[in-house]
């Protein structure tokens, strides 16, 4: 796979220009130290925009006050965390001091659970279907992948338009004789649609991962099964599923991670409403830090540290899963 010649020359020009200086550098510090040079730019960005902020975030979470600059913030020890975790019972958000945070946690848990089940289930079915010997497979694959490319704002607006009081879905419902449903003022419907829209927008990605996994299963296994006239579902259960399992784990963990981090689509679709029925943890963090009248950076930082710990654990789980696969 090669780029057309003029384009290739153009893109490599800056690289070519660095030839001489890099050779001089190599002569100066020796070949053994060159890896550090290659690693340096990435590391610099990382350090500046990931590690430094994580450190600052930790500092924010132990300080209070309305100031943005760390030096102006008074130290409060574990005060923010204490405030965050002060609860009568963790299951009932109403009994907590910072009830919005715990509502966010509960909603995110609910959302993630439903989303993972729906996403993995539908992706699996779609991958299996796409793996069958059907015509125009490329076209259908593209169809399922298409929504992945849409931005969260666009996705949310498309569905908001369809689910309106006088929208397409209500038109279909009344045409079939039912009453209009106001989806966005019912907490259960709002959550349902948040999950569904998220699945709609992203399942193509997971489908492709599973499809690749399915295609990696050696064909002779299936041929052997065919010669034994094994019924289809047994084939699926005894051959496909076990061999696909490592990919499934990757998909499940990725979907979990995405679910816990969800913000964009839900924020534009429901704004966290009705009430706080679809308020997710990330939206809580965003609003606490940025959009409330009184910006509480310390509390937002504490909440985000908690979220960070959860995500870190999930990441480790994903790594353990992919390692077992034999990466």
């Amino acid at each position: 796979m090669t780029l057309p010649a003029p384009l290739g020359a153009l893109t490599t020009l800056p690289l070519r220009l660095l030839d001489a200086p890099m050779r001089a550098l190599q002569r100066a510090i020796g070949e053994r130290r060159m890896p550090y040079v290659f690693l340096a730019p990435n590391a610099a960005f990382f350090g500046l925009f990931v590690f430094l902020p994580i450190a600052i975030n930790l500092w924010f979470s132990v300080t209070g006050g309305p100031a943005l600059f760390p030096s102006e913030r008074p130290y409060v020890g574990a005060g923010q965390y204490a405030y965050l975790f002060e609860c009568g019972s963790y299951i009932d958000p109403n009994s907590c001091r910072e009830d919005h945070f715990w509502r966010g946690v509960a909603n995110t848990a609910k959302f993630t659970a439903f989303q993972v089940v729906a996403m993995v289930g539908l992706s699996l079915v779609t991958a299996v279907v796409l793996n069958m010997k059907i015509r125009a497979r490329g076209f259908f694959r593209a169809v399922y992948f298409f929504p992945v490319l849409l931005s969260p704002v666009v996705v949310a607006l498309i569905w908001k338009w369809i689910l309106q009081r006088d929208g397409l879905l209500n038109a279909a419902i009344t045409a079939m004789g039912g009453d209009k449903i106001l989806f966005f003022i019912d907490p259960n419907w709002a959550m349902f649609w948040a999950v569904l829209v998220s699945v709609w927008a992203h399942m193509g990605f997971y489908t492709l991962i599973l499809l690749a996994g399915l295609q990696a299963i050696p064909a002779d296994l299936y041929e052997a099964a065919e010669m034994d006239a094994t019924p289809r579902f047994r084939v699926f259960r005894l051959i496909t599923l076990p061999l696909l399992w490592p990919n499934m784990v990757v998909v499940i963990v990725l979907a979990l991670i995405r679910g816990v981090q969800i913000f964009d689509e839900v924020y534009v679709l429901t704004g966290g409403g009705p009430g706080s029925a679809t308020l997710m943890v990330v939206q809580y963090i965003y609003e606490t830090a940025f959009s409330n009248q009184v910006q509480n950076f310390g509390l937002a930082a504490a909440a985000s540290c908690v979220l960070g710990v959860v995500l870190f654990c999930l990441t480790l789980a994903q790594l353990a899963a992919s390692r077992r696969k034999g990466a």
């Binding site: 610099a44 350090g47 500046l48 209070g64 006050g65 309305p66 100031a67 943005l68 008074p74 409060v76 109403n94 001091r97 009830d99 919005h100 509502r103 009081r165 106001l182 966005f184 003022i185 907490p187 429901t270 704004g271 966290g272 409403g273 009705p274 009430g275 706080s276 029925a277 679809t278 308020l279 609003e287 940025f290 959009s291 409330n292 009248q293 009184v294 910006q295 509480n296």
Partner: protein, 426 residues
């Protein structure tokens, strides 16, 4: 490490090519929001200023009202804000406002014309600074779709009618005409308090500290909850967004879906332009409660920002805009109730207004005199936004069934206390 990073990044940033050669012209940025046509009017006034003052250029950043409330405060906290901004949360942003007094030639005129409102823009303890001027004074009050009343054949309640009278009437009209929203109140703590103070809420204790939940307040909260239950107010407005998010009903009112819309005088310009002769609309005096028949005052002010690099130029722009002639023009063309005492006394000739708009302005003008002292005190209180947000956020939760009313009361008191404490932490 930081220095290296800074150099690296600035080196890259130079590639942006935004380097402006040192010019004789000062460029100032003004962040502005519009409810109606005031953005166009301001652009026009600024052009005139620029032609008179060629060494100053003012860039008008028009943003949605949401941005003024949400992103501007963070900008200001990080020192990255504009030079001037039209803001509504006067108390909350007071600490970012600059004092124009040292740069003004005629501070005395400013004091005379804008005196009582300057209080709203000062930090507690400050009695002398002049941060800006009122682009408008607003009063809350109801707009009514007269045509729907006529269609239903029901008479509109009279001058001293109570909130309950209006609620009942609106419900009957809506039932007869099929309008989905009998009574719509902006989802805003500010609007809610016009109801609450009329029901007797005192908001502050004897020492002037917030004591939000009292009998009057509870009466008002109960009314709102009951109205949502009985269908007088539709859950689609208050119940569809979360937290302290604002939700107005102007689009619904313009589409003749609302019988009675409790909002405020800033909507007059918009309604004047867009309703046309689709239906007859009127402004009515605020309904009465056991205590009084008050609305809530408010308004937006155009202020200078402390962090500006060109304070003298900012003062020149604001001095021009706040002058009687220019301010008067803004009020007249944008259909605003004047926030300038001299102009209020003289009366504004709203040339461009239609008959309904003129009548509405009259009603709201009269409402200014009926404002209750508690309402004025609340509007001038530095931390009033905290109170408004806490109230609307928790009442919103009660409406959607997430909390009970009693829980909400507890939460409101807690929220207010906690956020004021957080804001005051040094």
């Amino acid at each position: 490490m930081k220095a290296i990073a800074r150099t690296l990044v600035l080196g890259l940033a130079l590639g942006l090519g935004v380097a402006q050669a040192a010019s004789a012209q000062t460029t100032l940025r003004m962040t502005w929001y519009s409810d109606g046509n005031e953005g166009e009017v301001m652009a026009d006034l600024l052009k005139r200023f620029e032609s008179k003052n060629p060494d100053i250029k003012v860039v008008l950043d028009e943003v949605p009202f949401k941005a003024i409330n949400e992103t501007l405060p963070v900008q200001l906290a990080s020192g990255q804000g504009p030079d001037m901004a039209r803001v509504a949360d006067l108390g909350g942003l007071a600490r970012y406002m600059m004092d124009l007094r040292p740069y003004l030639k005629n501070a005395a005129t400013w004091e005379a014309n804008y005196g009582p409102f300057l209080k709203w823009m000062r930090v507690p303890g400050d009695t002398a600074s002049i941060p800006g001027y009122m682009t408008q004074l607003t009063v809350t009050g109801p707009f009514v779709n007269k045509s729907l009343f006529e269609q239903a054949g029901i008479a509109m309640p009279g001058a001293n009618a109570t909130w309950q009278d209006w609620a009942t009437a609106a419900k009957s009209v809506a039932a007869k005409t099929g309008a989905p929203f009998p009574l719509a109140i902006d989802r805003s703590g500010h609007r809610f308090f016009s109801l609450a103070i009329a029901q007797g809420a005192k908001v502050f204790d004897a020492a002037g500290e917030p004591a939000v939940v009292d009998d009057g307040f509870k009466r008002a909260a109960q009314l709102v909850v009951d109205w949502h239950k009985s269908g007088v107010m539709s859950k689609e407005l208050w119940g569809s967004v979360s937290g302290a998010a604002y939700r107005g009903a102007n689009e619904e009112f313009k589409n003749a879906q609302v019988v009675m819309y409790v909002s405020g005088s800033w909507q007059i310009g918009q309604f004047d332009k867009t309703v046309g002769d689709a239906f007859d609309w009127v402004a009515v005096p605020s309904p009465c409660g056991p205590a009084n028949c008050t609305g809530m005052p408010g308004g937006a002010a155009l202020v200078g920002i402390k962090a500006t690099k060109h304070p003298a130029e900012v003062a020149r722009v604001l001095d021009y805009l706040a002058s009687e002639e220019i301010a008067g023009e803004l009020y007249a063309r944008a259909l605003f109730v004047p926030g300038n005492l001299a102009l209020a006394a003289k009366g504004i000739d709203y040339k461009a207004a239609s008959a309904p708009a003129k009548a509405a302005l009259k009603v709201f003008g009269a409402a200014v005199a009926k404002l209750d002292p508690v309402a004025n005190q609340l509007q001038g209180y530095t931390n009033n936004r905290i109170i408004f947000n806490a109230v609307i956020s928790r009442l919103g939760q009660t409406i959607t069934g997430e909390t009970t009313l009693d829980e909400a009361y507890g939460r409101i008191t807690q929220d207010v206390a906690q956020q004021i404490a957080e804001r005051n932490k040094k």
